[in-house]
């Protein structure tokens, strides 16, 4: 087909003589005064385009939330894990010699946002295997792993070591939270010590205001803790924010990092 034939054919197909391309010889349709019918048409077209655009934007937002936050968080999580592991390699600032802090519970409290432990849950191994635990439960923190409720016990301390993580979006660490069973092991690694918790009970019917779940003795405000507990909280239903789901466990074993990883853990950082 010759080029002039193609041009003629396109004009014929377009019917009204409007040229979609920027051909110099054809007057742009915008410049000619429009008959009223065409104005009406362009208004309707504009409204239609607006609706389509809004729909596309909403879809993009959903794609961002459900997919892209996972991609971004996966990166952030491995960076944070590396930061934590690196910080363990260095002596704690303010400590004159490493041998001075021989007791594992004497570790200083991390400041807000600092990662201080790694979480391993064999049952949730595809998401929670070396998951960073950081101080605080703000959104930027939960985008990089699990958050530790400030004011609750540290790992291995008497009381309640309470953590939270996303169940969907932001790498969804606790995506398979419902798979957990009584007796499952939860491993928390700090600079000096491995803590092994065994899950004991759960409640999937909590509301966001049920803050008693992270009390030192859950459900008994002000009671003196006698046990070393862990509490893990996440959202329920998945993709929703109306309810909360908690699992509790009790410390069953501690082991210094120098003695190697505990049974059930292989190939750790």
């Amino acid at each position: 087909m010759k080029p002039e034939d193609a041009e003629e054919m396109r004009r014929a197909l377009l019917g009204d003589g409007a040229t979609p391309s920027g051909d110099a010889e054809a007057p742009a349709p915008d410049q000619a005064p429009r008959p009223p019918r065409q104005v009406g048409r362009s208004i309707v077209r504009g409204i239609g385009e607006t609706f389509l655009t809004v729909g596309a934007l909403l879809l993009l937002m959903v794609v961002y939330q459900l997919w892209w936050t996972n991609v971004e968080s996966a990166q952030a999580i491995s960076q944070e894990r590396q930061t934590i592991v690196d910080s363990w390699g260095k002596p704690t600032p303010g400590t004159p010699s490493p041998s001075a802090s021989a007791t594992p519970t004497a570790a200083p409290k991390p400041s807000y946002g600092d990662g201080f432990a790694l979480l391993y849950i064999p049952r949730l191994a595809d998401h929670v295997w070396g998951l960073p635990i950081m101080q605080g439960v703000g959104k930027p923190i939960l985008a990089k792993g699990a958050g530790h409720y400030r004011g609750t016990a540290m790992p291995g301390e008497l009381g309640n070591f309470a953590i939270a993580a996303h169940r969907s979006t932001h790498s969804e660490p606790f995506a398979n939270f419902p798979d957990l069973r009584k007796g499952d092991k939860v491993y928390v690694q700090t600079k000096t010590t491995w803590y092994v918790y065994t899950l004991t009970k759960t409640d999937p019917t909590l509301s966001p205001t049920d803050v008693w779940v992270i009390e030192p003795v859950p459900g008994k405000p002000g009671a003196k803790p006698t046990q070393k507990l862990i509490t893990m909280t996440t959202c329920t239903p998945r993709y929703g924010s109306t309810g909360r789901w908690a699992w509790w466990g009790v410390l069953t074993k501690t082991q210094p990092v120098s003695a190697g990883a505990p049974d059930g853990i292989t190939g750790t950082a």
Binding site: G22, W68, S241
Partner: protein, 62 residues
Amino acid sequence: MYGWIFRHLPGPWPVKTLLFLALLAIVVLVLFQWVFPWLEPRLPFNDVTVDDGTGLVLPFLR
């Protein structure tokens, strides 16, 4: 709007199409990189993160 943009892009139609796709890609990039991260914490389903005055609230976790 889209027609207007398309008409004002230079070149023959394959070039216009490429340019148009490039524009779309830029828009999506800006949205994902800056607009959505800014918007996310401001959405109404995202509102139970912190102390609401009555005490601690379990954070929004989805």
